[in-house]
């Protein structure tokens, strides 16, 4: 996979206008970024309530810290850095309460799920839930949100080589576990 990031749908002037105090621009940023943010948070924390809370908290923080956004920076990696931190905080709280990740309410709409008689979404969520947080985070940021490794490094503060290894390990686990499920299903 190329390490370059796909072209951003975010108009680069939007975060700058929001930073200058334009509430309409901030509203537009929220509307544009909400679906990706919710998707990432859902797959990170595993349930809608926590995900929505993390996303809302993230945007509130973004709004109050727009002054720290670099004028020459890309908005999405900056947003995902804050969101990833919020998700990690949610997961840490949950660990302290010894709760179990449940993915039962993750699917958001009627996306087709059955492939070869297999409920892929359910299995994907189960496997994702077994991944260490840092591997799940790196996999989602790279393969689902399509951030470049360099951008993920900025998000997580982790070296590129370690990031690539995290993504590779997550892919390996997904391949093996989903292949096992597929074999069992036949």
């Amino acid at each position: 996979m190329s390490s370059s990031s796909p072209s951003s749908p975010i108009d680069p002037s939007l975060p700058l206008r929001a930073k200058a105090g334009d509430r309409q621009a901030f509203a537009q940023l929220v509307e544009l970024c909400y679906p990706r943010s919710l998707r990432f948070a859902l797959h990170m924390v595993g349930n809608r309530e926590d995900a929505e809370e993390a996303v809302q908290d993230t945007f509130v923080r973004v709004y109050h810290h727009l002054g720290q956004f670099r004028d020459d920076g890309r908005f999405e990696p900056w947003l995902f850095r804050i969101l990833a931190n919020r998700c990690r905080t949610v997961l840490a709280k949950r660990r302290r309460h010894a709760e179990v990740i449940q993915y039962g309410d993750v699917p958001d709409h009627d996306a087709p799920t059955a492939v070869d008689g297999l409920d892929w979404m359910e299995e994907i969520h189960k496997v994702l839930a077994t991944l260490p947080v840092e591997q799940r985070e790196a996999f989602l940021l790279h393969h689902v949100e399509e951030l470049a490794y360099e951008e993920i490094a900025a998000v997580t503060g982790v070296k590129l080589s370690a990031l690539r290894m995290r993504v590779k390990r997550a892919c390996d686990v997904l391949r093996v576990r989903l292949a096992e499920v597929r074999r069992d299903d036949r």
């Binding site: 996979m1 309409q24 509307e31 679906p35 797959h43 945007f59 931190n85 799920t113 993504v167």
Partner: protein, 196 residues
Amino acid sequence: MIDERDAVIETVRGRLRASVADQADPRAVARILSAAFAAPAPSRWRRWLDAWHLPVMSRVGAAVVAVIALAAGFVARGVLPNRAPVDPMAVTGEFPIPVTPASDPRAGAVATQFVFEAPAAQAVALVGDFNRWVPTAAPLVRLPSGVWTVTVPLMPGRHVYAFLVDGARLEADPRAATVVDADYGRPSSVVMVPGR
């Protein structure tokens, strides 16, 4: 390349990407904007801590910070003026939305969110008995979807209100119970703000 894609990873990627609708829920966006615009700005200390961008503060680190904060609190006690605690906004899902706990400095006021759909409007203001029907008191913010929203602090009780569209036309809130304002004979709406 370490993480070359294959059919399984492509399938996983496709399924996960399709698992959330592409369009943002306007109500969720409205909730976020209300929370962002209404929440108090973080203190200088909070900004400083946030600037660290710590993923998760370790328990040891949290304990150290807590001890330092406690010590600082004791030191500062009696020296610094008391500041009233300010609660962050928490937003529920219906319209108009009483938002609790309120951050309004008026004791007992409840932050209440109003949402009005008017994609073609150039300006929308909330007017009512709570702001003496002053058109400039509570302008709504337009979302890209054409939904307008504002959150205002209201005292518990019954309030009559309407939306002033483009500075010229009063419209009732289609989401609320509509009544005829006895004074002006124009359609207005009623919101009941519960006591806290």
